[in-house]
């Protein structure tokens, strides 16, 4: 069981992800509707895994990712992105995001991604 934070400006997406994560036996400890809120709630709740929308008002997902990673390198952040945002996704990965999910997503894909992020060791065996 891991603690999750869901960051997305769409309530619908947040509800949807929350249902999926809880269905897998995880706990959603915080939700945020923009990057600024995400950074604040991160400090409060210290989740293990964060799903982060890229395009959001006030502070976008990439800025929030940078802020959060500055505070804690080990937190796992999965970006949520629309199709055609490869450049943004690349920027996020280069700034410490560990993977991404494309919208619209299928429940099974989300579950597979989250499990692989949780179970894969951070560094490759050399």
């Amino acid at each position: 069981m891991k603690n999750f934070m869901i960051v997305d400006d769409s309530m619908m997406i947040r509800m949807n992800l929350k249902r999926i994560f809880e269905g897998c036996g995880h706990k959603v400890v915080a939700e945020a509707a923009n990057g600024k809120e995400a950074v604040e709630k991160y400090v409060q709740h210290k989740p293990d895994v964060i799903t982060m929308d890229i395009t959001m008002p006030i502070m976008d997902g990439i800025e929030a990712l940078k802020e959060i990673k500055k505070a804690d390198r080990s937190v796992k952040v999965i970006m949520i992105s629309a199709l055609g945002q490869e450049v943004k996704i690349l920027e996020a990965l280069n700034n410490g995001a560990c993977h991404y999910i494309l919208k619209p997503f299928k429940e099974a894909d989300v579950i597979r991604m989250v499990e692989s992020v949780i179970t894969t060791p951070e560094t490759a065996a050399i």
Binding site: M12, M15, N16, R19, E86, V87, I89, L90, L93, N94, A97, C98, H99, Y100, P104, S116, V117, T120, P121, E122, T123, A124, I126
Partner: protein, 644 residues
């Protein structure tokens, strides 16, 4: 080889030590002579003084001494110290064997075969007979040679079996029908790749830069990101990230006329991680999918052509007429923008109409024209030449030809031109009915008049139900659940000719409901709504007017987005919007060019349909209004006068 060198270097003296024979320094020569006489093979004896070797008497040397004149008497009774060689060579039992060879061979020729004395902690331990040492060494060398030979043979067979294996793996890869190649951080394609790669790229690819190899097949936007992605991949330290990077690489491209699917995998190379690329030719698969989709489209088209023949003929004629009207308008219209807007609306409306009747090619062609007109409208300076180009293209395009030909290929040529229904003009029909009325009684006249009306009039419910197929089709395309489509209320018979401009434009309401209003099945379940949603048309008759209420139970109109769009397009200022009431804000939806959809799809999003619908209602002396509630749904109410 290396193994043996190690063994010999580390081998200790101990392995060659024999116990040997010793005498104490006090013994005399006769005792030694007895020893040599009793043991023929004895090469020499070591002289000890309190366990410590002090001298050596070798047999040959001893008898040489004794055989001299008086030798026997001279040495026989005297202590061995007179006889012994004191320049002895000693080694420690733990010394390396190398040491023996060195020490032994550094001696005078006459002493070459003298024992080497072995001590342990300075006390006597034994001797090494050079003779036996050489024999042992040569035996060992022989063993080593045999071992070496075996080893060599093994290696050779390994190499050949490796070659065999490489070849068979290569055969497997070459015949798998897929291209396999790999590259490391320098991006140079490694020499081991399958032959299919050469076929795909139409050249040898080894030692080429992978990016340069594939760049010609991607557009500039993709090209620029390819390098960044690969650089990030090779720099990445986190395992999970690596697969994320690779999945960002574009998976498909047309290479030398074939559709190629690119699959990237991380593999462990000798010096670090490498990327393996699996190339699959999916041209046939794609063509098959396309053909299948075309078959489906054709089927829908034929069903429509059969079930809605008369409407389709009407639509085809209307379209021709509308195009002619537009072209005529261009001749007489001085305001280019005004003309283009009108032309755009016409094309947009007919795009929707033809979609309803599964004229997919026409729909696509019209969509292209729409795009061209739109970009002209967006440009600051509209050139006459550009407008005329579009008009000429529209004249030449035979926009409907492909779909009509497709239908006629199944239904017989001339299907759309020679209707089996008797078709006469309205004026002609009026004359016929007048002629009939002139010869019948007054009582019968009423019945004839009704019959005449029935011929011209159709039940509005039936007309509205015709939209069901289109809604089903559209919901499928938008990957929404199939909504329930309900038509209820009063039976109102109308002359479809009069109302057709409004009725045709109703399609925009359905499109908006499906595209913007109704949520996806998943979202609806979350909101405790029934998964598929409902679109209801309710007809009310009220004296000489009637109304159609079209409602959905979707998420409602997003007023904030409408407002933002209105400001963005410069139609209203925020101050003006702040003073508007709810109804006025909803009315924004009927303004040209105002769509809250972020991108324009073939389905909806131009924000033109709603304005043409409103125009047509007003033309007929009717009205249209909209009401909406967040998460409850949206309701359009159209009120029209009833003409007979």
């Amino acid at each position: 080889m290396k193994d043996y060198a190690c063994i010999s270097a580390e081998e200790k003296v101990a392995g060659f030590v024999i116990s040997g024979h010793t005498v104490q320094i006090e013994e005399n020569g006769e005792y030694v002579a007895e020893l040599f006489n009793s043991m023929e093979e004895l090469e020499g004896v070591v002289v000890l003084k309190n366990k410590v070797p002090v001298g050596l008497i070798m047999k040959t040397y001893f008898f040489q001494k004794l055989s001299t004149p008086y030798g026997n008497s001279l040495y026989g009774k005297r202590p061995v110290s007179f006889l012994m060689e004191t320049a002895i060579v000693t080694v420690d039992v733990n010394d390396d064997v190398d040491e023996i060879s060195k020490l032994a061979t550094n001696r005078a020729y006459s002493n070459l075969y003298d024992y080497i004395i072995v001590t342990q902690n300075a006390s006597y331990r034994g001797v090494i007979s050079i003779r036996q040492f050489l024999v042992a060494l040569s035996d060992r060398n022989k063993e080593q040679l045999v071992e070496l030979k075996l080893q060599n043979e093994k290696e050779l067979s390994l190499i050949s079996s490796l070659r065999e294996k490489t070849q068979s793996v290569r055969n497997l890869l070459d015949n798998a029908g897929q291209g396999f190649l790999s590259f490391g951080a320098d991006l140079m394609v490694k020499s081991e790749y399958s032959s299919e790669c050469c076929k795909i790229f139409d050249s040898e690819i080894s030692d080429q830069n992978y990016l340069q190899l594939i760049a010609p097949y991607f557009d500039d936007g993709k090209k620029s990101i390819l390098l960044s992605i690969l650089e990030s991949f090779f720099a990445a330290r986190e395992y999970i990230c690596e697969s994320a990077y690779l999945s960002l690489l574009p998976p498909e491209a047309v290479v030398n006329g074939r559709s190629i699917f690119f699959e990237y995998k991380r593999i462990q190379g000798i010096t670090g991680k490498d990327v393996m690329v699996i190339l699959t030719d999916i041209t046939e698969k794609k063509e098959m999918e396309k053909a299948l989709e075309q078959d489906r489209e054709t089927q829908r088209l034929i069903i429509k052509a059969i079930t809605c023949k008369s409407e389709l003929i009407q639509l085809i004629n209307d379209f021709d007429g509308a195009l002619q009207t537009s072209f005529g308008l261009y001749e007489n219209q001085s305001d280019r923008k005004e003309f283009l807007l009108h032309f755009f609306r016409t094309i947009h409306t007919f795009k929707g109409d033809f979609a309803q009747y599964s004229f997919h090619n026409a729909m696509r062609t019209l969509h292209v024209f729409e795009n061209r007109i739109q970009s002209l409208l967006n440009s600051s300076e509209i050139e006459i030449r550009e407008i005329e180009e579009i008009i000429n293209d529209a004249k030449d395009a035979s926009i409907l030809k492909i779909d009509m030909d497709t239908a006629e290929a199944s239904l017989g040529s001339g299907y759309f031109s020679e209707s089996r229904d008797i078709s006469i003009t309205e004026e002609r029909m009026a004359v016929v009915f007048d002629d009939i009325s002139a010869i019948i009684s007054d009582g019968e006249k009423e019945a004839v008049k009704n019959a005449y009306h029935r011929l011209k009039h159709r039940n509005l419910k039936t007309i509205l139900l015709d939209h069901k197929d289109y809604i089903t089709y559209l919901a499928g395309r938008l990957e929404k659940g199939q909504p329930e489509y309900v038509v209820t209320g009063d039976n109102v018979y109308i002359d479809s000719n009069i109302y057709s401009p409004v009725l045709k434009n109703l399609i925009h309401i359905f499109r908006n409901s499906l595209d913007h209003g109704l949520e996806t099945e998943e979202e609806r379940v979350l909101l405790n709504k029934n998964p598929c949603g409902t679109i209801t048309c309710a007809i009310k008759r009220n004296c000489d007017r009637f109304s159609i209420e079209i409602s959905d139970d979707g998420q409602g109109i997003d007023v904030e987005k409408l407002k933002a769009k209105a400001v963005e397009k410069g139609i209203f200022t925020e101050g003006q919007l702040a003073e508007m009431d709810k109804a006025a804000l909803f009315d924004l939806i009927f303004i040209d060019n105002l769509s809250t959809k972020a991108s324009v799809s073939q389905v909806s999003g131009r924000g033109m349909g709603m304005s043409s619908l409103k125009n047509e209602c007003l033309q007929l002396g009717g009205s249209i209004s909209v009401d909406s509630e967040q998460n409850k749904g949206t309701k359009f109410t159209i009120s029209l006068p009833l003409f007979h």
